[in-house]
């Protein structure tokens, strides 16, 4: 939650400075943001490659556990596709690209800004911050109504960090491992799905 607040603070600071005209706009329109994005991706890759605990957990998992991140991804794509027909300001693939942030608001909103512009990027930021908040607050309710996997599915890409404590409390400690693996798999799918869907 602290992470989300810091990020929103930086975003709001940017909005105020952009609105007041204190900083030149070309800063945000130059190739500089693209290189910063590539740098960010490289760093995300390094953090994945350097993490040994992750590789060890993957080595001893049951294959059917992969059905859970798969369900999260397919469910989100179907849900965001279906709702796009009720919205007149986003296309079906744009809606699916926004959904494919899975709560990973930083990376997904940056990508969508790069490929689709600041308006859609802002929708993605709101949408994915909201998903994290929803997953945190609704975990107990989702657990009761839709079974043990529901809090994990709602958490999306955040189940390996921000929503992990809530999931372990609601679902039980046995599900921590599943939640981490789920978060990792969904996390990795974000750059691929978002850039792919932004091509349309």
């Amino acid at each position: 939650m602290k992470g989300a607040l810091t990020i929103i603070a930086f975003f709001v600071l940017g909005v105020m400075l952009g609105w007041s005209g204190a900083l030149p706009l070309w800063l945000s329109e130059s190739d500089f943001t693209l290189y910063a994005l590539f740098f960010l991706l490289f760093c995300v890759g390094v953090s994945v490659g350097a993490d040994d605990t992750l590789r060890r957990t993957i080595a001893r998992m049951q294959p059917k556990i992969l059905l859970i991140p798969l369900a999260t991804i397919v469910g989100t794509l179907l849900g965001s596709f279906a709702i796009s027909f009720a919205l007149d300001n986003v296309s079906a693939t744009e809606s699916m690209a926004i959904g494919s942030g899975f709560g990973y608001y930083s990376l997904s909103s940056i990508f969508i800004t790069q490929y689709k512009g600041a308006e859609l990027g802002t929708i993605a930021l709101v949408s994915n911050v909201f998903r994290e908040i929803f997953a945190l607050l609704m975990a107990p309710l989702l657990f009761k109504a839709f079974g043990k996997l529901a809090p994990i599915a709602a958490g999306g890409a955040t189940t390996m960090d921000t929503t992990l404590p809530v999931i372990s409390r609601v679902c039980g400690r046995d599900w921590i491992f599943v939640a981490m693996l789920h978060g990792f798999a969904v996390d990795l799918s974000v750059p691929f799905l978002v850039t792919f869907l932004c091509r349309f």
Partner: protein
């Protein structure tokens, strides 16, 4: 899309090679810095764009609606997977 995959893969290989170097765990701080910078720049272009500013409430509502549809899609799919593949293990 190719450059996205290339950056990610190059990072994973570099991270794997550097995994025993003790400073590699500080990579999280670099990630945070890059994210803060990029979100700040997104804010900057939103603040300088009249069309977006005058539309902020529509943008917010659209974001929340897509979020709810996505999350409930995932929840329902996971419910099906739970009933079909996992519940019998726990009986």
């Amino acid at each position: 899309m190719f450059s996205v995959i290339a950056c990610l893969l190059a990072g994973i290989v570099a991270g794997h090679l550097l995994r025993d170097w003790r400073h590699v765990r500080h990579i999280g701080r670099l990630i945070s810095l890059a994210i803060f910078l990029l979100l700040f720049l997104l804010g900057l272009s939103v603040g300088g764009n009249e069309a977006i500013l005058s539309n902020l409430s529509t943008i917010g509502v659209t974001g929340v609606v897509i979020s709810l549809a996505s999350t409930m899609g995932s929840v329902l799919a996971s419910w099906w997977v739970y009933v079909r593949f996992f519940r019998k293990d726990e009986a």
